[in-house]
């Protein structure tokens, strides 16, 4: 089977010797609670996916609607003159990876909302005008179901004149168009930067010459800017377009929304910890720039948690006590957070409870259920507290906006409470003037899942009363703020002004100051309570997933490093006794017992940019070879095999500079 190109796998006929081995693998693979955990995973992830999908839809709903409205606003129908082609310039931003999904959503939206077909084109499938037209016609004509007898292309192409149009003739499209209920043809050029200028120009000119018969709508995906796009077109091409610009929300912003959706809210059963979070966000900003990648990483985090952590079974909401066996509880009793919890109980002196926790699985089960709920509530309070801080902060400092994600990372590692940022923010609240305050209150009131203990409405009411009675149009000032204000005026103005200023403070401002002082105190108390260190929570091992290790290897692998390591220190992988000795002796010792390729690799590393194969062979033979003829044959074949492997990996390539030389292509550790 190994030299066949492709084949469908068929199991070998059952042989008495082999069958048991495979069965063993199947049976030992899954631990007992896996099905419960799998269920929990599906439950949790479905919830998350729903949230994320909502966030994504939210992120570009308005753009999609605008585009759909633009497309449906085009009046179809044949015309005498050649009208300019309606063109949407969609500024999609620099993240190529998110273009595909975006245009898929555009496609769904357009097909659902308008009587148009949607033909996506990308630069890879259209190297020249001819192929572009072919692809366009093919995609358009197969885009919507047409008559069943229209199975083959040529009959539909039998033109009135009797001549058969070629497969890149737009006549085919016209024929098809006249038979379908579709009223316009939307062509989306997904990556306009990937196309040659000339192809775009030619396409536009060709399409515009058909625009009296075929109602085209063009959509260009533009990663840079509309100006740059315009620069690439010729004047005549621009004249035959009628453009409108749509700006898609950038990956950075939509990621922020998605991120918020994944951690906020009381229904999130598993949250990502700060370290992993930082890793994911860094990778997003530095490398991938795609929400898809973030989505995948988050999903993988869930996958890992539920697959590899047996404790995660307790996140199954419909879990019954008799579904789990004793060992799960035993495992749970070893958790560090459980120990901390028990120690805390011990200090309180509730020894009975400790006894029950340690002895009775039933009691522990109830305890876990209860505390998981509590933990989730606490975390949810934490996330909404972060949201509050973000709102306050961004209301006070218009210039320096903070991101929710960065605050989440700080708070999840437990250092947001008491940090200068929080203190500053709270102090600034006290100094806020009435208009800022009312703005803050309005935003807080609109906050979803806010766990705010205070009554925002009451504050709003009080503030409204105050401002109503205010005689001046100027916003009310808090006396915390006014003090500094006065200080400033004394420096600049005369004494008379100062006293006058103080007199206005007295009535409404004093009342306002009281109000905002109260708000400040309540806020401080709230934040103190809510901004906890999540890792100090009981059962935080279940509620948080914060492992970097599989993520790095799984999403950002280092294949070259892995191969170099395998070749330079095979012991790391093989763990064999023979290579252990040489490993112990020195960092990279050569010994005959190592696999032949690794020996050759050492020689390869030691040599210069060119390798004489004969000398290489002599050195190789000197290390591995034996005396007799037979062993020399073995040595040679091993040498040949290793050399061939090196060529396969691209470590060496033939050199024409000297006879029997090869050139070195890779340096270790680069």
């Amino acid at each position: 089977m190994e030299d066949k190109k492709c084949y469908l796998y068929a199991p070998p006929r059952p042989q008495p010797g082999r069958a048991p081995k495979r069965r063993r693998l199947v049976n030992t693979g899954q631990p007992t609670t896996w099905e419960l955990r799998e269920h929990a995973f599906h439950e949790a992830w479905a919830q998350q996916e729903h949230q994320i999908q909502g966030a994504i839809d939210d992120a570009d709903r308005s753009t999609l609607e605008k585009i759909a409205a633009f497309v449906s606003g085009v009046v179809p129908g044949p015309r005498r003159d050649r009208p300019p082609i309606p063109t949407g310039l969609v500024i999609t931003g620099p993240s190529i990876a998110s273009h595909g999904p975006f245009f898929r959503r555009v496609s769904d939206k357009i097909i659902a909302d308008t009587k148009s077909i949607f033909v996506p084109l990308n630069s890879a499938e259209c190297p020249n005008l001819k192929t572009l037209l072919k692809t366009l016609i093919r995609k358009a004509t197969s885009g919507l179901p047409i008559d069943e007898d229209d199975d083959e292309l040529p009959p539909s192409g039998a033109h009135k004149t009797g001549s058969k149009p070629l497969d890149y003739d737009l006549c085919l499209l016209l024929d098809w168009y006249s038979k379908t209920p579709v009223d316009k043809i939307t062509i989306a050029i997904q990556d306009s930067e990937g196309f040659d200028d000339s192809i775009i120009v030619e396409t536009i000119e060709l399409l515009s010459s058909w625009s009296d018969r075929l109602p085209f709508v063009l959509l260009f995906g533009i990663a840079t800017s509309a100006d740059r796009f315009q620069d690439r077109l010729t004047g005549s091409a621009i004249l035959s377009l009628e453009g409108e610009q749509f700006v898609v929300e950038q990956a950075e912003e939509s990621l922020e929304k998605i991120f918020r959706a994944t951690v906020e809210g009381p229904h999130v059963s598993l949250r990502v910890g700060p370290n992993l979070c930082r890793l994911l966000l860094d990778r997003h900003s530095d490398h991938s720039q795609s929400t898809q990648d973030f989505y995948d990483s988050l999903k993988y985090a869930y996958l890992c948690h539920f697959y590899a952590n047996p404790m995660s079974v307790f996140l199954n909401r419909s879990l019954e006590f008799d579904q789990i066996n004793h060992s799960a509880f035993e495992a749970l009793r070893t958790l560090p957070s459980f120990r901390n919890y028990v120690e805390a109980l011990l200090e309180d002196g509730s020894t009975d409870e400790i006894h029950s926790l340690l002895d009775s699985d039933q009691f522990l089960f109830a305890n876990i259920k209860q505390h998981l709920e509590l933990g989730q509530t606490a975390l949810s309070r934490l996330t909404s507290a972060i949201a509050v801080v973000v709102i306050l902060r961004n209301a006070m400092w218009k210039t320096q906006q903070v991101r929710y994600s960065s605050l989440y990372i700080r708070s999840a590692s437990g250092d947001l409470y008491g940090s200068p940022l929080t203190r500053e923010t709270i102090l600034m609240v006290r100094k806020a003037s009435s208009d800022t305050f009312s703005h803050v209150l309005a935003t807080l009131a609109s906050l979803r899942h806010s766990g705010l203990p205070m009554d925002i409405k009451e504050y709003q009411q009080a503030l409204a009363d105050l401002t109503e009675h205010s005689t001046t149009s100027a916003p009310l000032k808090s006396h915390y703020d006014v003090q500094s204000n006065t200080l400033r005026t004394t420096l600049v103005a005369q004494k008379v002004d100062l006293s006058k200023h103080k007199s206005t403070l007295s009535k409404q401002d004093a009342a306002y100051s009281d109000l905002i002082g109260r708000f400040h105190d309540e806020l401080e108390a709230y934040l103190t309570e809510a901004l906890i260190d999540p890792h100090s929570l009981y059962l935080s091992e279940i509620l948080l997933y914060d492992l970097k290790s599989p993520h790095n290897e799984v999403f950002a692998p280092k294949p070259r490093f892995a191969m170099e390591r395998a070749l330079s220190s095979p012991h790391d992988y093989l763990n064999c006794s023979c290579c252990a000795e040489s490993k112990a002796e020195g960092e990279h010792q050569l010994s005959a017992s190592q696999p032949p390729s690794t020996i050759l690799y050492q020689l390869y590393l030691e040599s210069g940019a060119m390798l004489n194969v004969n000398d290489l062979w002599l050195a190789f033979n000197a290390i591995t070879g034996g005396e007799d003829n037979q062993s020399e044959d073995v040595t040679t074949s091993l040498f040949q095999r290793s050399l061939a492997e090196f060529k396969y990996f691209g470590l060496v390539k033939p050199s024409r500079k000297k006879v029997d030389h090869v050139s070195k292509m890779m340096w270790k550790g680069l």
């Binding site: 990876a97 696999p595 004969n614 061939a644 006879v659």
Partner: protein
């Protein structure tokens, strides 16, 4: 300088010169002139004569024939001998500059610098100087530069000697030897390369000019095994690391269930690491099959699990093969399908979208980074394929830099999770060991059965084809011998090279470089030659003739750095000569 010296000590050097030159010219003169040099006051006329003679003398001294002067000179003046042998080509002009040690020094410096620059250029272009040359290079260079400095000193010394009038001194003093700095120790050269360099430093160290010092040994062709020998040997060979490899395999196979879970969750898997992963994917296929079978019996599905195994490493594989076998797994054979891979794939995918199968189709692709699958649209088609929810892809990658194959968009389509599965297993199926080593060493001619095979093929070809092959052989031999001649020239030393201006030498070097790096004949040139010899009349015919050779792998072609196509016969020089002989003898 000469004039200056003449001014200081008039006449001292002139008579000697006079003597030597007169002797050379065979004029009647006697030793009396030597004995009473002071008496003669050099007149203007005489001085002009002397200058002329000096020039004449120099011209001869710098000429190819040295015996005359040596013969003319008195014995016991070894210096003059050395002078003539080692004189530098730029010297005469320095001598002619009217006045001045400073100029000479400057000139000497400049020439040394120029020379060193030229050498550097040559070496960078050639890059393949022999060991000794490379070793001595820096020292010679240093000597030359220092020699240039020493020249000034030498002149002064010479002047002193002239003043004392102690010995007969040739007018072009030797530069070498005299100018060597005295008492200055030679730079110590460590025989071992620097240790523990960081990787990038190591790269530059090993790629430094002249850094490649390899011997000229060649591998005797008897050393390498042929297919039969290789396979017999490998069959009897037992890997001492067998148990450890089995353990590694077992270790990886423990993750099978995890992989299945990942695949089910919409991820695709890419396995990397050293060692063939074919065994692993085979085992996984079996495991997956059992799993899917058990699962489909749970949901009472009659459809057998569909696992498509693709061996990407097979040499002739195309993306079309993959897609059409996928299509044949989905559709019955009676359905008419598009033939082009692109439309076929979109057809398959749209069918899968509109009628999603009860169980996704599993594709196990060995070596996704193999040569045939790296090119052209294959990658993007594979990405489209993998992006479909009803397709689960597990692939393996062998080369260390495979992630460079995909751009961001394709990466997002693939949705890979990567797993390191180093197995240390030999790539038995993936690599044709004997063949690829032969190719690596430029001995792929062995494939056609060597000289005899080529002769056999040629005999069955028409006259024109044979003529074309003959042209190619001759051209290639010419190129090879041009290379060696150039090398010989280098080896002959300063004498012939000294006549050439630096530019000539540079041109020579570049020409040599071109012929080497190209190694083979330009397609265009061969075509014109062929047309010129009436082998063919147009390019189509030419291509047809070449195709025959390509089919028998008697000719290989490649694009060089400039993008021009080059053709060559994959044989070594001796074999080519043999072939040429065959042509002559048999009249092939």
């Amino acid at each position: 300088m000469k004039r200056k010296s003449a001014g200081v000590a008039p006449g001292t050097p002139t008579p000697k010169k006079n003597r030597t030159s007169t002797r050379q010219n065979g004029e009647l003169d006697n030793d009396g002139a030597v004995k009473s040099p002071e008496v003669e006051t050099p007149s203007k006329r005489r001085r002009g004569e002397q200058d002329l003679m000096k020039e004449l003398h120099q011209a001869k001294a710098n000429g190819a024939t040295t015996g005359e002067i040596n013969g003319g000179n008195t014995p016991g003046t070894p210096r003059s001998q050395r002078k003539v042998l080692f004189t530098t080509p730029t010297k005469p002009r320095q001598e002619d500059t009217p006045n001045g040690t400073p100029t000479i020094v400057r000139n000497a410096d400049r020439s040394a610098r120029r020379k060193s620059a030229r050498r550097l250029i040559e070496r960078t272009i050639n890059g393949d100087e022999s060991d000794e040359e490379a070793l001595d290079e820096e020292d010679t260079l240093a000597q030359e530069i220092l020699g240039g400095e020493g020249e000034g000193e030498g002149d002064e010394e010479e002047q002193d000697e002239n003043d004392s009038g102690a010995s007969p001194i040739p007018e072009t003093p030797s530069k070498r030897g005299r100018g060597r700095p005295r008492g200055r120790p030679r730079k110590e050269r460590s025989p071992t390369p620097p240790q523990n360099l960081p990787p990038h430093e190591e790269f530059f160290w090993q790629n430094r000019p002249g850094g490649t010092k390899t011997s000229n040994n060649t591998l005797p062709s008897s050393t390498l095994l042929n297919h039969d020998e290789y396979f017999t040997t490998m069959q009897s060979y037992e890997d001492p690391h067998g148990p450890e490899r089995d353990f590694l395999l077992e270790l990886h196979s423990r993750s099978f269930d995890q992989w299945i879970f990942e695949l089910e969750q919409g991820f695709n898997i890419c396995l990397y690491g050293y060692g063939s992963k074919r065994l692993l994917t085979d085992e996984f296929a079996a495991h997956l099959y059992d799993y899917l079978l058990a699962r489909s019996s749970d949901i009472s599905d009659t459809q057998l699990p569909r696992i498509l195994v693709v061996n990407g490493y097979t040499s002739g594989i195309t993306i079309r093969d993959i897609i059409s076998s996928l299509a044949s797994a989905i559709f019955t054979s009676t359905v008419k399908l598009p033939t082009q891979p692109g439309p076929l794939l979109s057809h398959v995918l749209s069918c899968l979208s509109s009628y999603p199968p009860s169980q996704p189709i599993q594709i196990l692709l060995n070596s996704i980074d193999s040569l045939p699958l790296r090119r052209g649209p294959a990658v993007s088609l594979l990405a489209q394929l993998a992006a479909h929810p009803s397709i689960h892809l597990l692939c393996t990658a062998d080369t260390p830099n495979f992630p460079l194959l995909w751009d961001l968009g394709q990466k997002a389509q693939f949705r890979f999770v990567f797993h390191d599965t180093t197995t240390f297993a030999p790539y038995d199926a993936e690599i044709d060991v004997v063949e690829s080593v032969n190719e690596l060493l430029g001995r792929s001619g062995r494939r056609v059965g060597g000289r005899d095979g080529v002769g056999f093929v040629l005999r069955s070809l028409p006259e024109n084809a044979r003529s074309l092959f003959r042209i190619l052989i001759n051209e290639q031999l010419d190129l090879l011998s041009a290379d060696t001649n150039d090398n010989d020239n280098e080896g002959l030393g300063e004498q012939p090279a000294s006549v050439q201006t630096p530019r000539h030498k540079l041109q020579l070097a570049t020409r040599k470089h071109a012929s080497e790096s190209g190694m083979g004949m330009e397609y265009r040139m061969l075509y014109h030659k062929a047309v010129g010899e009436f082998v063919c009349s147009n390019e189509v015919g030419f291509r047809t003739l070449l195709k025959e050779f390509h089919d028998h792998q008697m000719v290989e072609s490649r694009k060089d750095g400039m993008g021009t196509e080059r053709l060559w016969i994959p044989f070594r020089r001796e074999e080519l000569e043999g072939l040429k002989e065959d042509f002559e003898v048999e009249g092939l």
